[in-house]
C-alpha cells in the first residue's frame, strides 16, 4: 500500500477528534500542524474558551487555556518576554469579536507580533448555539428563535474593522466550503507565521467554519451556507498584507 497522505503527528492523538461531524475545526488543526512542522521550534498556543478547546490535545506544541476572550492579551504577555517564540492565539468568533473585542482591538492597535487564528462559525457553539456578535441576519439560534432581526444588531465585521490599523500587518479571511479554499488556509497560516517571524505586527487569519450541529444543517448544506455567508457578511480574501515585500 502506498501512503499518499498521512496527517502530521501528534495531531490525531490516541483518542481521535472530538469535533462534531462536519465541523470545520479539524481542517484548521491539520493545516496548523503542517505549517508548524516547517518551523524550527514548535509554536506556543494560547487557546480561548469555546469549541476551540477540543483542539487542545491535538495542537503541535504547548497549550495554555486562558479566560474567555482574553487569549490575545495572554499571548501578548508571553510574546513580550519571549520575543523569539512563535505565539498563536486561537479563538472563536465569540471571543474575538464579542467578549474579547476590547482585547482584540487593542492587541491590534499595539501591533503585537503574534498570530491570531479566529474560527468564525457565527454562533456561540460550545454553550449550545446562542447568538454571537457575528451571527448573520435572519439566522436562527437558541437566543434568536425567530432569526436574528435588526433589533439584535447587524453581524459585526470585526476583521474589516481592525484591518485598517497600522498595527495589523496581515489579515486574511478564508473559508471551509470547498477543497481549494481549505488549501488556502495553509497559505494564510504560513503567511501569518512568516509575518510574525518578521515582527511586522499583528497577523490574523479568520476561518469561516461550518457548524452543522448548531446551524441545524447537514454537513453538505453547511458548506453551502458557508458559501452563502462569504458572499454576504464575510467575504474571503486578503484584507491587509503590509509585510508582503519582505516575505520570501
Amino acid at each position: 500500500m502506498r501512503v499518499i497522505y498521512a496527517p502530521p503527528q501528534p495531531v490525531l492523538g490516541a483518542a481521535g477528534f472530538d469535533f462534531c461531524p462536519g465541523c470545520g475545526y479539524g481542517s484548521v488543526v491539520l493545516a496548523l500542524a503542517e505549517v508548524a512542522a516547517a518551523l524550527e521550534r514548535a509554536p506556543v498556543f494560547i487557546i480561548d474558551i469555546g469549541c476551540v478547546d477540543f483542539m487542545t490535545s491535538h495542537l503541535p506544541g504547548d497549550v495554555m487555556m486562558g479566560p474567555h476572550g482574553r487569549a490575545t492579551a495572554l499571548a501578548t504577555g508571553y510574546k513580550r518576554v519571549n520575543p523569539e517564540a512563535t505565539v498563536c492565539a486561537i479563538q472563536g468568533d465569540g471571543a474575538f469579536a464579542g467578549i474579547g473585542a476590547t482585547e482584540s482591538l487593542h492587541t491590534a492597535a499595539r501591533g503585537e507580533p503574534i498570530t491570531v487564528i479566529v474560527l468564525n462559525n457565527g454562533v456561540l457553539a460550545d454553550t449550545g448555539g446562542q447568538m454571537a456578535a457575528t451571527t448573520v441576519a435572519g439566522q436562527v439560534t437558541t437566543t434568536t428563535p425567530a432569526g436574528r432581526s435588526p433589533a439584535f444588531g447587524a453581524p459585526l465585521p470585526f476583521l474589516e474593522m481592525i484591518a485598517g490599523l497600522p498595527g495589523v500587518a496581515y489579515a486574511e479571511r478564508v473559508a471551509i466550503d470547498a477543497g481549494p479554499h481549505i488549501r488556502r488556509i495553509h497559505k494564510a497560516l504560513a503567511a501569518a507565521l512568516e509575518t510574525q517571524r518578521q515582527a511586522a505586527g499583528l497577523s490574523v487569519v479568520e476561518v469561516v467554519s461550518p457548524c452543522p450541529t448548531h446551524w441545524r444543517l447537514d454537513p453538505v448544506a453547511s458548506w453551502q451556507h458557508v458559501r452563502d455567508i462569504t458572499e454576504s457578511a464575510y467575504p474571503v480574501g486578503t484584507l491587509a498584507d503590509r509585510a508582503r515585500e519582505a516575505r520570501p
Binding site: V44, M64, R70, A73, L74, G77, R80, V81
Partner: protein
C-alpha cells in the same frame, strides 16, 4: 537604594530590585503613580512597560509574562481588582502561575471616594474571584513596608505558585517617607516552580492542569485529586505563612486593638495616650490578611480583657476577628467615607467604644 518618596514610588523601586521584567497597568486613584513610576523606570532599566486599555488586559498580560517564565506585576485599586477577579481565578486558582498585584484601597463601593479605606478586605481575603482558591494578602503599614512586601510577594508567589496581593491604601500609597530597597536586579527566567516552568520548552505541556486532566480522562476522580492537592496547598500556607505584629506592653492588657495597614500605624501613635492612668493597651496588627494570623490573634487576645477592632470599613475585619475568637464579644470602631482619624481621635473613639455583636462569618 535609599530614597525619599511615596509608597507608590517605593513599589517600583522594589519591583526593580526583585527582578520584575514586565509591568502592565491602567490608571486608577490612588495607584496611578505606580503606573507612572513604572513608565519612567521600567524602560530605563531594560524592562517591559505596557500602558494597557484596562485592568482585564493588565492581569492577562501579566499572566502571559509569568507563563513565559518571568516576574511580572500590575497595580490597581479595588475597582480594578474587581475587573481582575476573573484573571486571578484562572491564573492563580486554576493555573498556579506566580504573579504580584499591588492594590491601593480607596473607600467605597462603585466609584466610592478617593480617600483611604479598608473595605476591600472581604474582596482580597476571599480570593477576589469565583471558585475554590485563595490569594496570599500582605498589608503594609508604611512606605518602607510596602517596598519590603513587594519583594516578599514575588518570593511567596514563586514559593507557592500563586498570585500575591500587596494591599495598601491611599495613605500608604501617597505618604512620602525615606525607604530603602536593594539595587535593581536583572530579570531571570524561572527554571523551577510548578508545571508552568516547563511551558514553551517543547515538552508538550497543557495548562491548566485541570484542563489536561479533564481532556485526557473526563474523570471526576482525577479532577478531585487535583482539587485535593490544591486544598492541601492552601492548608499548608495557612499553617506556614501567617504573619502578625504585636506592639504594646507585655503581660495582661485592658484593651487589645486589632487593626491593619495605615490605621494600625495611627493606632501606634495613639498607644502612649492609651497606656496612661494605669490602663494597658496593645495592638495586634495582621500583616497577612490571608492567611489570617489566627495564632497571633488568639495569643494576644488571651491576655486581654477587651478586644476591639478598628477599621475603615463596616466590620469586615471585625467579623473575622470575632470568628477566630470563637464568638467572644469584640468591639468595633470604624471610620467610613474615605477618612482616617488622627491619633487623638483614634484614642478618644476607642476608649468609649461599645462592644458589638459578632456578625456571621464564612470563616
Amino acid at each position: 537604594v535609599t530614597r525619599f518618596g511615596t509608597g507608590n514610588q517605593a513599589v517600583i523601586d522594589a519591583a526593580l530590585a526583585a527582578g520584575c521584567k514586565l509591568f502592565a497597568g491602567y490608571p486608577v486613584t490612588p495607584a496611578t503613580e505606580i503606573l507612572e513610576a513604572a513608565a519612567r523606570e521600567f524602560p530605563r532599566h531594560g524592562r517591559i512597560f505596557i500602558p494597557v486599555e484596562g485592568e482585564i488586559a493588565a492581569i492577562n498580560i501579566v499572566a502571559g509574562a509569568s507563563l513565559g517564565g518571568y516576574r511580572s506585576m500590575t497595580a490597581t485599586s479595588g475597582l480594578g481588582l474587581s475587573l481582575m477577579a476573573e484573571g486571578l481565578s484562572f491564573y492563580s486558582g486554576m493555573t498556579e502561575l506566580p504573579g504580584v498585584v499591588v492594590v491601593q484601597q480607596r473607600w467605597g463601593p462603585g466609584d466610592g471616594s478617593l480617600g483611604p479605606g479598608q473595605d476591600c478586605y472581604n474582596q482580597v481575603t476571599r480570593g477576589a474571584g469565583h471558585g475554590d482558591f485563595a490569594l496570599i494578602v500582605l498589608a503594609p503599614k508604611s512606605v518602607q513596608e510596602i517596598a519590603d512586601h513587594v519583594r516578599l510577594a514575588f518570593d511567596l508567589a514563586e514559593r507557592h505558585n500563586m498570585f500575591v496581593l500587596v494591599v495598601g491604601d491611599q495613605i500608604v500609597a501617597m505618604t512620602s517617607e525615606q525607604y530603602e530597597t536593594g539595587e535593581p536586579r536583572a530579570p531571570a527566567r524561572r527554571t523551577s516552580g510548578g508545571r508552568s516552568a516547563g511551558f514553551g520548552r517543547g515538552g508538550r505541556v497543557i495548562l491548566p492542569e485541570l484542563v489536561a486532566v479533564d481532556e485526557k480522562a473526563g474523570d471526576f476522580h482525577a479532577l478531585a485529586e487535583v482539587a485535593r492537592r490544591w486544598e492541601a496547598k492552601y492548608r499548608q500556607i495557612q499553617r506556614e505563612e501567617q504573619r502578625a505584629e504585636y506592639t504594646g506592653p507585655d503581660g495582661a492588657l485592658d484593651l487589645l486593638i486589632v487593626a491593619y495597614g495605615s490605621l494600625a500605624r495611627v493606632a501606634e501613635c495613639a498607644l502612649p495616650e492609651l497606656n496612661t492612668g494605669g490602663r494597658t493597651a496593645g495592638i495586634l496588627r495582621p500583616v497577612t490578611l490571608w492567611p489570617f494570623p489566627v495564632s497571633g490573634l488568639r495569643e494576644a487576645a488571651a491576655r486581654a480583657r477587651q478586644v476591639t477592632v478598628a477599621e475603615l470599613s463596616m466590620g469586615q475585619l471585625h467579623a473575622d476577628v470575632g470568628s477566630v475568637l470563637g464568638g467572644r464579644p469584640v468591639g468595633l470602631v470604624n471610620w467610613l467615607g474615605g477618612y482616617a482619624p488622627t491619633p487623638g481621635e483614634f484614642a478618644r473613639s476607642i476608649t468609649g467604644s461599645p462592644v458589638q455583636p459578632v456578625a456571621a462569618s464564612p470563616r
